[in-house]
Amino acid sequence: MARLNRGGRLPASLLVGGGLFALLVAVVVAAPWVAPYPYDEMDIMAIKEAPSAAHWLGTDEFGRDVLSRLLIGGRTSLFLGAAATAVSLVIGIPLGLLAGYVRGFVDEAMMRIIDVLMSVPPILMGLLILSATRPSVWKTAIAVGIIYVPVMTRLVRSVALDLSREEFVLAAQGRGERLPWILLREILPNAWPSIIVEASLRMTFAVMLAAALSFLGLGVQPPSSDWGLMISEARPFIDSAPWIVLGPGLALCVTVVAINLMGDGLRDLLDPRMRGRA
């Protein structure tokens, strides 16, 4: 990886996005201790109650405290987003680099397979991967990650394809560098900016896709929850009890903004050009 931007100030977007994200992580990690109620405790006397001193974000259709569920569900959501993105990166980066640099038959074969995979709708893909076994959060994360491998591979390939034509890559070939050096030291560091931006986007999509799978009964199992599932479950009551959606909706928004800001900041931090002219 490229050297960090030593001496320079950190990009503002990284400070804001990173700070926000760290806060989110801290809160959900501490959730079991800070949540005011157990997340699955039903109170049939307080169904769909508006926010009050007792229930800051109100209660849902089973009388469960929305804030508590939000905090606990955040653990699953953030974990799912991060793990799924990591899976897509770990598989997508090597495949993409290889296809974009080696070209020829390898590239052609991989791209046609990816075309086929991409023609299958993501939800259907998730069904295929998950329906065979008992659902679990881990499996959902891996399934969502695999669903995003083709997109990630495509992106890395197109970036690697452009970079392969740069003269510094020719120079490396000209002094007899081996494949791993060219891919990892010449091409990858220059591909990071695009990969980081894509990864931060993927992470937010992953949270939503995981929610959709949960909604179909393939992901998180009730009464556990994640933000996506909370939104899905609360959708019928959006007129009568909008606060149930409001909490997870806002949480998801903040997460998306934080991750994207962090992605932008990280991209700038890794870019030696941002160090300014000497």
């Binding site: 050297r3 020829g104 003269e167 120079a171 000209g174 002094r175 007899g176």
Partner: protein, 668 residues
Amino acid sequence: MTALLEIEDLAIAYGTARGPMQAVEGFSARVERGRTLGIVGESGSGKSTVALALMGLLPAGARVTAGSMRLAGEELTTMTPEKRRLTRGRRIGMVFQDPFLSLNPGLTVGAQVSEPLTVHRGLDAAAAMAEAARLLDSVGIGRAVEVAASYPHQLSGGMRQRAMIATALACDPEMLVLDEPTTALDVTIEAQILDLLLGLQKDRGVAMVFISHNLGVIQRVAHEVAVLYAGRVIEQGSAEAILSAPQHPYTAGLLGSLPTLDHRGHRLTPIPGGLPDPFRPMHGCNFAPRCRYREEACVAERQVLRSLAPDQLVRCRRAPLEDPAPAAPEPARARWAAADGAGPVVEIREVSKTFSRGGWAAGLFGRAPATGLRALDGVSLRIEPGEIVGLVGESGSGKSTLGRCVIRLVQPDAGEITVQGRDVLRASGGALRRTLLATQMIFQNPSSSLNPRHTVAQAIGRPVRLSGWKETPVAARVTQLLELVRLPATYAERYPHQLSGGERQRVGIARALATRPSVLLCDEAVSALDVSVQASIVNLLADLRDELGVAILFISHDLSVVAHLADRVAVLYRGRLVEEGPTEEILRAPNHPYTEALLSAAPLLRTGERIRLRGEIDTAAPIPGCCFTGRCHRRIDERCDTVPPPLRQAATDHGILCHIPVEELAAR
């Protein structure tokens, strides 16, 4: 009578994050109908900004801060945007540098030429199309109707630039603004385009503002010249006066950095240093930090344009310069001498390469390579130790392919290449890697030849390690290599974006030298640089040969640079070596007709009759006879088309591939 275009005290500033940046200041000029103003300058001089201001196309953030521009007495700076839009195209036409970018790939050429006709002249589609064909015909495009129906990618660069000129001329403008219109073209095509422009000017009386970094081109088209340096005009007046007797040290320096065929062997005199910081405008002369004639007063006092001769204004208090010639020539240095009996460093034997047009799948479906592009056709070339061999040819001649074959970036179909007696084409694994270290390449583009993520020390240190350097620590070797290319050791920690184009090119050279190669392959290594920087790199390459005895294969389209540097020149046309010999021999008759044309097309401030080549390099159908027959001005008869030409010996080591006997070739 007022001039068609009058510019007075024009100043343009860019608003940037670091505050306003003065791009142009105090620019004044007049252009009469039927005359051409040449604006000369290197990158960063502000010459393109002037062109964009004339067109009213300044980018967001840039604005005219002072002065006026009047077209036939009408003020342009205060015109409403709508009126300005109508002026563009109707009264002022513009031609940009890159014909590959300035035509829309999704529209037919005819549609693009006829567009201004429908917009500005209100013609209907059919009439506009007919007019477009007539315009294309007037800029020398044969089969105009056919060309009008084709898309830009089906045309060559020269044809596209002709189409651009046709578009600019569509509404019969009073003035043309041309921004480096021939820079992206081959010299023979450039000569054709310049002829076309001169002819059009004569017929239509159109005024031209011609912007170029190339003094040779300016000399051929311009009546008046303004030399821009960092936003200020430093010399202005009649083209003849300025180009024959420059008075400003910068103009003199530019001329001194130009390699010319007539003064071979002289060391070029580059201008040291770089452009001043545009954010800190200088009160005095902004060229002073680079000037040999600098005195204290130059920096302290404001410099004004003053008149020395009737047609010549110069912004220099010391002009006329008492000593416009370069400083005392450097003492001759010890030349590296090859050990006797050492074999050639590189030997290329009968190398051929055909690129197939389809992808890897094309072969599967029976599309034979016969339809492919024959890039190299039985080329043989030897490079002796410490020798500089120049390889000249236009784009499409196969010269880059040959260079890439030597370092195995391209695998030839047939032939043999050895480096220091070791086979390159059939080697693999460790043996290949060792051989590759002996041949290092220097690339054209200083902005892409260095990995932006690696520091200079990393870029140079890697090949040092690969070559198994053990004598000193790698860091010490990096410092030594930086010294070799005349860069301070402190540059080791810099990233490429912190270097200027010339400095990056030096780092590229240091990186190539890091493996102690016996031959450097320079593929257009100086073509992307400004003239003054180009001169210093050319000098550096010559010095490195003298100091280290490294052989150089210098690949370029620019015959004047090649002839300046090389001991021997090989001329490539359509993948065949049509002439090869010692540089002195190449520079005088007899020559292959193609070399003859290249020599005469090179715009090097030379006078005399020029040979005009018809058409352009044709890469399509293979021909049984001479590869040059289609464009040759000395073609004899069908023999040239059907019989392969014999190799004629004009002198020892000087071979010409031509049907015409040597004696006849010598009599031009």
